[in-house]
């Protein structure tokens, strides 16, 4: 479904990602793991088209490499970005409404909003409050719900567990597991490799802008001194 070939991402004179290739098949959950500064977020930004990159990105059979951000969302890509980036000056409900901005079917959209407010009762309780008043974990739930409001074909999750308490982290991963069970294709970017590997069908290990290892959780889990060094899994 998503195919990336020789992706190079530069921020000004500094090259952050040096030509990586990977693929995400339909209905799978694939994770990109790696330490800080490995190039994970740069990769996500390049996939969404908010930073300049070279290389070939094909999605759903079409080359999207030169499309602007909005067109990639229209094509079915959606992201819950690093740092969540919810619209803190809008209410919880308004965040979801705006999340579904690309959809024209009002009834279906309203039904989706109701669905998410029900799925996360805390969001339902606070539907009219400014989203900035939510706690970090609640904001992450809102960010993921907002990303799903577009009814995407693939969901990109950039460090959904970052900065959250362990209990909240396991809630977030349970949610991702449920999404996976519903058949949503997911590209998960994480530092928390143990949790991410557990629910991934396939994983790539990224370090210093290069893919240094890849495989299923079994093969990766066995392989490695390298893995241990990068992620802290013995």
């Amino acid at each position: 479904m998503l195919n990336v070939e020789n992706l190079i991402v530069s921020h000004g004179p500094i090259e952050a990602v040096h030509g990586i290739s990977f693929a995400v098949d339909k209905g799978r959950c694939v994770s990109l793991l790696g330490p800080n500064g490995a190039g994970k977020t740069s990769t996500i930004s390049a996939l969404m088209g908010v930073v300049k990159s070279s290389g070939r990105i094909t999605f759903d059979g079409a080359d999207v490499s030169s499309l602007p951000v909005e067109a990639r969302v229209q094509a079915g890509m959606s992201v819950a970005p690093e740092g969540r980036r919810i619209f803190s000056n809008l209410s919880v409900e308004e965040n979801l409404v705006l999340g579904g901005a690309t959809r024209s079917d009002r009834t279906a959209k309203d039904a989706d909003i109701a669905h998410w407010l029900e799925t996360f009762p805390i969001l339902g309780e606070r539907r009219d409050q400014p989203a900035g008043t939510l706690s970090g974990g609640e904001q992450q739930m809102l960010a993921i719900s907002r990303a799903l409001m577009t009814r995407p074909k693939i969901l990109l999750l950039d460090e959904p567990s970052l900065g959250l308490a362990p209990k909240i982290v396991s809630q977030i991963f349970q949610m991702i597991e449920r999404l996976k069970a519903q058949g949503i294709t997911i590209l998960l970017v994480e530092q928390n490799a143990t949790q991410a590997l557990r629910l991934s069908d396939y994983a790539y290990l990224l370090n210093n802008g290069r893919i240094v290892a890849e495989g299923t959780k079994e093969t990766l889990g066995q392989s490695s001194a390298l893995m241990a060094e990068l992620t802290g899994i013995a």
Partner: protein
């Protein structure tokens, strides 16, 4: 008593005009960080459109008013497309200089193509007649001005609260990139911001022309300068701030006009800006400055 009421009406009318123009500046600033000093020339384009209509003997007031507003909207959209889109993601200073450049070019176009001297526009005098309001004699123009501004504010609030594009504009003032990442087309957001800004300039143009009865190449400079001050006092980038700043500036101006003794009359502006400075000492970011992002919440 009647004198006080009349002066309050004056303050309200001045404030309404400043608020209209300040909102036009603030709405563009809030989403792209651009202080659009060419806004005054958009107002002037409305005025020259009225001159053109008069020359064509089109004196129907609806055509004149509708035409001026339409011209201002089109001009605003044109400026976005031609001048501001190329510098959209550039440094704010680049945008500011671009706006100044556009302003100078347009003023010179008016100067060369029309006339350096004021040109009379008489077709809007009909808007101005004395009316009795609660026993106080005021000008109908002032009533129109206050009512229009209130309607504009209500309309804008509904637009920003109830429509997806309105939500996108509010969100864009915080994080434009994220707005694009939910699939809202950025060109559309910018176009709507400039369209609303142009509409506000067109409305302001009607009132300015009805009061002055003439247009010259520098017509827009003073009102936009005042509106800029209103924005700064109210909190730049905040729409409620722009409205509040506009009305506050109107009130201070009229108060100085009334309260200052005759011999200090020439120093009215000095007193006005002195008071503004004091307000800024009290609230350096403006009275209703938008909240700044204080980083991630953990």
């Amino acid at each position: 008593m009647e004198y006080v009421a009349q002066q309050m009406m004056n303050a309200l009318a001045f404030g309404a005009e400043y608020a209209l123009i300040a909102l036009g500046l603030a709405i563009v600033f809030s989403i792209m960080g651009l202080v659009n000093f060419a806004h005054g020339e958009v107002i002037a384009v409305g005025g020259y459109t009225m001159v053109a209509f008069a020359a064509l003997a089109l004196n129907n007031p609806f055509i004149v008013i509708g035409g001026a507003i339409a011209a201002a909207i089109l001009m605003s959209l044109l400026l976005e497309r031609v001048a501001f889109r190329p510098v959209r993601y550039a440094d704010p200073t680049t945008g500011l200089l671009t706006a100044f450049g556009v302003s100078i070019i347009l003023q010179n176009v008016f100067l060369l193509a029309v006339s350096p001297r004021p040109v009379a526009v008489t077709s809007l005098y009909f808007l101005d007649w004395p009316v009795q309001l609660l026993g106080v004699q005021v000008s109908s123009l002032q009533v129109f001005e206050a009512v229009t501004t209130v309607l504009v504010i209500v309309g804008l609030m509904l637009f920003l609260k109830r429509t997806t594009l309105g939500l996108a504009m509010r969100a864009a003032s915080l994080d434009f990139e994220m707005v694009r990442m939910v699939g809202v087309r950025s060109n559309r957001v910018f176009a709507v911001a400039f369209m609303v800004s142009g509409l506000l300039a067109g409305l302001a143009c009607i009132f300015i022309m009805a009061r002055r009865g003439s247009v010259d190449p520098h017509l827009g400079f003073n009102p936009v300068l005042k509106a800029f001050v209103a924005c700064v006092v109210g909190g730049f980038g905040s729409l409620p701030g722009a409205v509040l700043g506009g009305f506050l500036l109107g009130a201070i101006e009229v108060a100085m006009l009334v309260l200052l003794p005759q011999e200090y009359g020439g120093m009215k502006d000095a007193f006005v800006f002195g008071i503004i400075a004091l307000v800024l000492v009290w609230r350096p970011d403006g009275i209703l400055s938008p909240p700044t992002e204080k980083g991630d919440k953990i």
